[in-house]
Amino acid sequence: MKKILIANRGEIAVRVIRACRDMGIATVAIYSECDRAALHVRLADEAWPVGPSAPRESYLRIDAIIDAAKKSGADAVHPGYGFLAENEDFAAACRDAGLVFIGPSPEAITLMGSKTAARQAAIKAGVPVVPGTEEPLSEQTSDADVLKVAEGIGYPLMLKAVAGGGGKGMRMVSSPAELPASLRAARSEAQSAFGDGAVYLERRILAPRHIEVQLLGDHYGTVLPFVERECSIQRRHQKVIEESPSLSVSPELRRRMTAAAAAVAKTVGYTNAGTIEFLLDSDGSFYFLEMNTRLQVEHPITEMVTGVDLVQWQIRIARGEPLTLDPESLLTPKAHAIECRIYAEDPETGFMPSPGRIQGLRVPHGPGVRDDSGAYEGGEVPIFYDPMISKLITWGETRDHAIARMRRALAEYQVRGIRTTIPFFQWILEDEDFKAARFDTTFIDRKWGAPGSSPLQSRDPAHEELAVIAAAIHMFTRSIATTVAAGEPVSIWKQAGRAEARR
């Protein structure tokens, strides 16, 4: 394997390019119109255009990407996550074109990509699943029929897209009256996100934790599980903070969960990197939720506590190497790691997307800090794609140490010109329940936007005073610098307008 095409953009494309460079492998980036100057294009050895900005016309165009791979002479393709990472047609198209797809087989993607088929695989492996429908409910299934099925499962229940992931096409339904509207919304979201409007129903486990197990499988039948990741801090069913290990998983429970995860993967002959997601009930019982047949967004925390480079191992497995990692060390976390997903969204206006130009960027550094980012000063955050611009990861000797470092790093992090979720993380990290690891998947829904609470508005007056002083000094020193030679002061507003037009 001499040259790898990365069929993705943003921070994950940058992450894969770095792994390739560490291994002395050449890299090929692809880009849409608006991404011509994106960081992944700037860092790769080669870059090929694949179409207009809309994902459907570029990063989801299998033919254009295969064409770029052939023209560039790449011998393998890394899909990253999102876009075509869990698309069996893409994996098959790579194979047909003589390219190594760095991921599982198209067959494994098909099988585990169907949430209902994946549940059956888990049952076959002897792993408990959340009670729910075993067959998908197609778009043609009438409301009346869905209501009948729902009656058998009981409320509250979860409505999920069969092709789902990332919280899209997912709704909680607490009564029969809510079902028709939620069904419509979930189907429409699933249709636009995955091109498949089929859904299924699952009983809602109240106040569960979301725990997942990273796996690597080679082509010789070895499947190795890693120490769990705790992903319960979610907003709109999307993870926002992850950590490893989980304080709610004892070494004994870790043995059972990781063994169950490996059993599911072995049942389907799984290869390369994948993740089994579980719901952990408050009584310690756990249920198989789904399998993600790709590298996860939150893979760095596993890397931090095990010292394993997961992307490098994806490549090594794909080129036929056997897994030579020590299974015991993968289950023995070295201290603690935590990740915050930094989104270009404004938490003060209901997490409204905040695309635009990054006027200034200061990235935190120092002991125990890792920033996986696709952003740079002067770069644009386009409106077309997922708003995650970077992942901030910290490592500490203890959980408290990792959190302290995260707070320090967030305070240093400045993304100027657009709004980000950094203040939202500062709010979470100051929460007493979070600090004590007392939470479940309802944490943010319960705490954020609870009646009477608007946590970001109640700012420290001392900070406001400093902001006022800084703004005043900025205007004052700039107006002096731009006073004309004749001694006639030019309107600071006119000057400010010109300075902004120049930027």
């Binding site: 899209k168 979201e189 996100a193 270009a344 206006t349 209901g350 997490f351 409204m352 997307p353 905040s354 695309p355 006027q359 200034g360 200061r362 409106i383 077309f384 794609y385 997922d386 708003p387 967030l410 305070a411 240093e412 400045q414 100027r416 010109g417 709004r419 950094i422 203040p423 500062q426 508005q457 700012r459 420290d460 007056p461 900070h463 406001e464 005073e465 400093l466 902001a467 006022v468 002083i469 800084a470 703004a471 005043a472 000094i473 900025h474 205007m475 004052f476 020193t477 107006s479 600071i492 507003w493 400010a496 307008g497 902004e500 930027r503």
Partner: protein
């Protein structure tokens, strides 16, 4: 230089004067002594005096990001991001009493970012409650519901479902 700076829920009267190498910044009559260095086009290193008379020693790293309206900034300071609006002295008094800040007058609902109008949830003449959804805009793969800031009646709906709009485009008016 005399300024008015809106921050949080209030407007501060601010003046800046140079005294030798130091700046004296008065905020609502309270003066802070500052040793200021510009370290970038929009970045300042400040050493701030904790009290009157003592030397400026408290380090404050501040940087600003200009917003769409001239004089509006996000100030990054002490690990926080704080929006401020800077105006010449006297300008706010008039503006603030004009209505918008008092929570009266028509609400102009505009697109906060470029995106596609997915759903229009109200029609002209509809009575709406505070926080009621008005229109759904899709951007960055997420659907975002724009809501009424307070109770009112929908006067105009300027958009239909389907087309894309630019940031700042008027979507509807609630009075």
């Amino acid at each position: 230089m005399n300024l008015e700076i809106a921050v949080g829920n209030g407007v501060r009267a601010v003046s800046v004067t140079r005294k030798g190498a130091l700046l004296h910044v008065s905020v609502d009559g309270r003066t802070t002594v500052v040793d200021a260095r510009r370290v970038g086009e929009m970045e300042l290193s400040l050493l701030v005096a904790p009290d009157d008379g003592s030397a400026p020693v408290r380090g404050v790293d501040a940087s600003l990001a200009a917003q769409r309206t001239s004089g509006d900034f996000d100030v990054h300071v002490a690990g926080r991001t704080i929006p401020v609006q800077v105006r010449l002295a006297g300008s706010f008094g008039r503006q603030k009493t004009a209505g918008a800040a008092q929570g009266t007058g028509p609400q102009r609902i505009t697109a906060p970012m470029p995106g596609k109008i997915v759903r229009v949830l109200v029609k002209p003449g509809d009575e709406v409650k505070a926080r009621q959804g008005l229109v759904v805009v899709e951007a960055m793969k997420m659907e975002n519901e724009l809501r009424a800031a307070r109770d009112g009646r929908v006067r105009d709906v300027a958009v239909t479902e389907g087309p894309s709009v630019d940031a700042g485009a008027l979507l509807l008016v609630v009075e």
